[in-house]
Symmetry: C2
Subunit: 201 residues, 2 copies
């Protein structure tokens, strides 16, 4: 019997997934969480075999949860399900020790199968996401460029970005210019869109 912890902020989805997994004889949902923090607390208390975590949650994202679980509950294998899978997220997730990564477009049978695979020590990544991740390649941005672009993506003027990043406005412009160049964008806003779409910020 595989003991599962479910974490997803959407009550409806979480309940529905639980109902779905309950149909499988060898799976049992032992706990549910609506936020990243709850998920970590529940995992510590319940020590599940597998944690099925949504990528987008109000507080911590799924990758952060996976990273913490790897340290705090080492026997728990983590897998992530997501609506909007970006190539960059997949890379981050694998780096955080995630064993399975699936879009929510998969079927229920597939989900159960992957839960078993992950529990058995295997890994599973959705083939389409994997292909996208490979073709998208690594982020060409340096750490600071990504930082600055992250702030720029909210539409703030350069002066505000400079204040929030504790940099001089000139430096901010240099970074944004470099980032836009690397991403083939005409301006920082387009660059921010590209980086976000690829999961690089």
């Amino acid at each position: 019997m595989i003991r599962i912890l479910l974490a997803d902020d959407e009550h409806l989805i979480r309940g529905a997934l639980a109902a779905l997994l309950a149909l499988e004889d060898d799976l049992i949902v032992v706990g549910q969480a609506a936020t990243g923090a709850e998920a970590i607390a529940a995992a510590r208390a319940l020590i599940p075999d597998v944690a099925v975590v949504d990528l987008q949650m109000p507080d911590l994202d799924g990758v952060t949860v996976a990273d913490r679980l790897r340290v705090e509950v080492p026997t728990c294998r983590t897998m992530i399900v997501t609506s909007h899978g970006r190539p960059g997220h997949l890379k981050q997730a694998l780096a955080a020790g995630v064993r399975g990564f699936l879009p929510k477009t998969v079927s229920a049978e597939n989900l159960a199968m992957v839960v078993r695979t992950v529990h058995g020590g295997g890994r599973y990544v959705d083939p389409q996401l994997a292909a996208e991740a490979i073709s998208a390649g690594d982020s060409p941005l340096t750490a600071r460029e990504a930082d600055v672009l992250q702030l720029a993506s909210e539409g703030a003027p350069i002066e505000e970005i400079a204040r929030r990043a504790s940099l001089s406005p000139g430096t901010v412009r240099n970074y944004l210019s470099a980032a836009a160049g690397k991403l083939g964008a005409a301006n920082r806003h387009e660059a921010a869109r590209i980086a976000r779409k690829s999961g690089w910020i």
Copy 2:
């Protein structure tokens, strides 16, 4: 027995919702669809009592589907579930004849209850979304302003927006300036963010 059509592009969610609704004695899921077009075709063939439609789908969005169903399958009541409920979407949905509007954070019992309410001729809108919609008010943007802002939201420079909208660059700037003023934004990019968050574009 209430006959239900489910439309959601995420296979996992759709199957899970079906499993969940199947637990209720008076509800039966008679059909499922993964796209807006499929949903309309299925509704025409099956004539369900209630259509439960996701707001975001690859081709047509939930509001468009509702609008078409109202005309093509008048006996079918439509309700919408969504992950990211924006105030503007709620208004559009009600205008399209939608009878129920729920975020996916509701519980399964609530969903079943709302299905019954809608089937009985009633309406149900999530209280929190309703409050947001009322406080957000109507879109202050004119039709053209919204058009231009829509194009601007992709990060394109003004000249490209002008070409795509068949307007002169100067006019585009005027509209964007007016829109930014109305939305209290410092520039068009921030204005686009605000308008998108409110569901106005």
